[in-house]
């Protein structure tokens, strides 16, 4: 009789509906698996016994007293940008992965941004034209959104690499989580990289190219590696160097985003 995997036992414990009846029957028949299931239940029962510090009845009011003076001024939600955000928010309801939609929007914005920055205007634009423009989203606002999008993509990539670095190295190393993360990120990364290259931002394109190479390698690696294979894998990826570069570029982007926000009086990010 084939024993249950640890994953199946965990899913069963949390009542995730994957073959639940078959697993329950197996647990009745197989003492080994039943013992493993009970050990898991005992360990998780210990977790449930950990206490949380008590907060008084007025805790909510205290939080509000702290938060209220720090609230930024609200911007009215109208115009193309809020429409884009609305689309992003609705993506969950459409069952479209948010990263895919955000990536798509990011590429559009990237094109708009680099287009606006790199392509010379054929005719000067008068103040009247600006005032009556059908596109009220300012260049600064576009830049801020765009920088945020790329920054978020880099942060997510950073997270995947950090997860990899923190992988457990005693016994076989399971990197299936990092593989899943990398598979998702590769798609968006490729779109950003191609757009950046087409529009001549070689610095961003180079970083994204190096990042993509690593993401592809993670996505295509076996899910489980021996400690020696894992050490070799990490060396090949040079994860630390990549993380350092991402950190540098992210901080440059944050600085540019702040600068861009300052350029628009009364804007809070």
């Amino acid at each position: 009789m084939k024993h249950l995997s640890e994953e199946q036992i965990i899913l069963h414990h949390y009542s995730e509906p994957e073959d639940g009846e078959r697993i329950a029957r197996h647990l009745e028949d197989c003492p080994d698996c039943r013992a493993r299931y009970q050990a898991l239940q005992q360990a998780l029962a210990l977790v449930d016994r950990s206490a949380i510090p008590h907060r008084g009845e007025n805790y909510g009011s205290e939080v509000w007293r702290q938060v209220r003076p720090r609230l930024p001024k609200r911007e009215q939600s109208s115009g193309p940008l809020s429409t884009l955000w609305g689309l992003a928010a609705r993506s969950a309801a459409w069952r479209v992965p948010r990263w895919a939609l955000v990536g798509g929007l990011g590429v559009l914005l990237l094109a708009a941004f680099f287009g606006g920055r790199l392509w010379p205007r054929s005719t000067p634009v008068s103040p009247r034209q600006i005032a009556t423009s059908a596109h009220p989203v300012s260049r600064e606002a576009r830049e801020r959104v765009l920088l945020r999008e790329i920054g978020e993509h880099l942060e997510r990539s950073q997270l995947a690499l950090i997860e990899l670095i923190n992988s457990q190295t005693n016994g076989m190393v399971d990197i299936s989580l990092e593989r899943s993360l990398a598979e998702q990120l590769v798609v968006v990364n490729r779109l950003y990289r191609q757009t950046a290259a087409r529009l001549g931002d070689s610095g961003t394109a180079n970083l994204l190219e190096d990042l993509e190479r690593r993401l592809v390698e993670i996505a295509n690696s076996p899910a489980r590696l021996s400690p020696a294979e894992f050490a070799d894998f990490r060396r090949r990826l040079d994860t630390e160097e990549m993380l350092f570069r991402i950190k540098v570029v992210s901080s440059q982007m944050r600085a540019r985003e702040l600068e861009s926000a300052r350029a628009v009086p009364g804007t809070h990010s």
């Binding site: 640890e6 994953e7 965990i10 899913l11 949390y14 995730e16 050990a39 898991l40 005992q42 360990a43 998780l44 210990l46 977790v47 016994r49 950990s50 206490a51 949380i52 510090p53 008590h54 907060r55 805790y59 909510g60 009011s61 939080v63 509000w64 702290q66 938060v67 209220r68 720090r70 609230l71 930024p72 609200r74 911007e75 939600s77 809020s82 955000w85 609305g86 992003a88 928010a89 609705r90 969950a92 309801a93 992965p97 948010r98 990263w99 997510r156 997270l159 950090i162 997860e163 923190n166 457990q168 399971d174 299936s176 989580l177 899943s180 993360l181 598979e183 998702q184 809070h268 990010s269």
Partner: protein, 192 residues
């Protein structure tokens, strides 16, 4: 007076009504503190996190779908704020060459109606072991575990909250549970 629904309060807050947002803050602070404490394991961090969550929520009110559940939406923001904070902590620890210790506030943070001293000692020992187990998780694993184990969110909800594919969310939960179980094995063995 009839209590204002979350949806109605959000609608007013979006129009700039600070007091309406205050209603939401007062209503959800306790639940968020519990979540934040589970995520960070540190009382001060949890308090800071609760404020950060509300500030981020306020900035993002325009993105909130009125049909959605406000509490679920806050959980999503909370998970991401917590991951950011934990990553920052880990990265600071690595830069300083410091091995992140288990936060020391467990003994002082026992609930007011604590059991007698010997039992309290046993509970605090468990508390330390559990926190140590959770401390060994990566930020993503910890967030996924807290959402699944304490908040009873489904894999689908966790994948949405953490912006992951469902398979990645499952892997994060598997790995977290595996590490927690391994880490608590010694406590269970000593109790036998």
């Amino acid at each position: 007076m009839m209590e204002q629904s979350d949806a109605a309060a959000v609608a007013k807050a979006r129009e700039g009504d600070h007091d309406a947002f205050g209603v939401l803050v007062e209503r959800h602070s306790h639940a968020l503190f519990q979540l934040a404490y589970r995520m960070t394991g540190n009382e001060q961090d949890a308090e800071d996190l609760v404020q950060e969550i509300f500030l981020r929520a306020y900035r993002q009110l325009g993105k909130f779908e009125s049909r959605a559940n406000f509490s679920t939406w806050l959980h999503r923001i909370a998970a991401n704020c917590a991951i950011d904070l934990l990553r920052k902590r880990k990265s600071q620890g690595e830069q300083d060459g410091v091995v992140d210790p288990v936060p020391p506030d467990h003994l002082s943070s026992l609930p007011a109606n604590s059991p007698p001293p010997d039992q309290a000692m046993f509970h605090s020992e468990i508390q330390i072991q559990v926190e140590s187990a959770l401390h060994g998780l990566t930020p993503l694993e910890r967030a996924a575990f807290v959402l699944r184990h304490f908040e009873h969110k489904s894999v689908e909800e966790i994948s949405s909250a953490l912006d992951l594919g469902q398979s990645a969310a499952k892997q994060a939960i598997f790995r977290a549970v595996h590490k927690v179980r391994r880490s608590l094995e010694t406590v269970l063995d000593s109790a036998k």
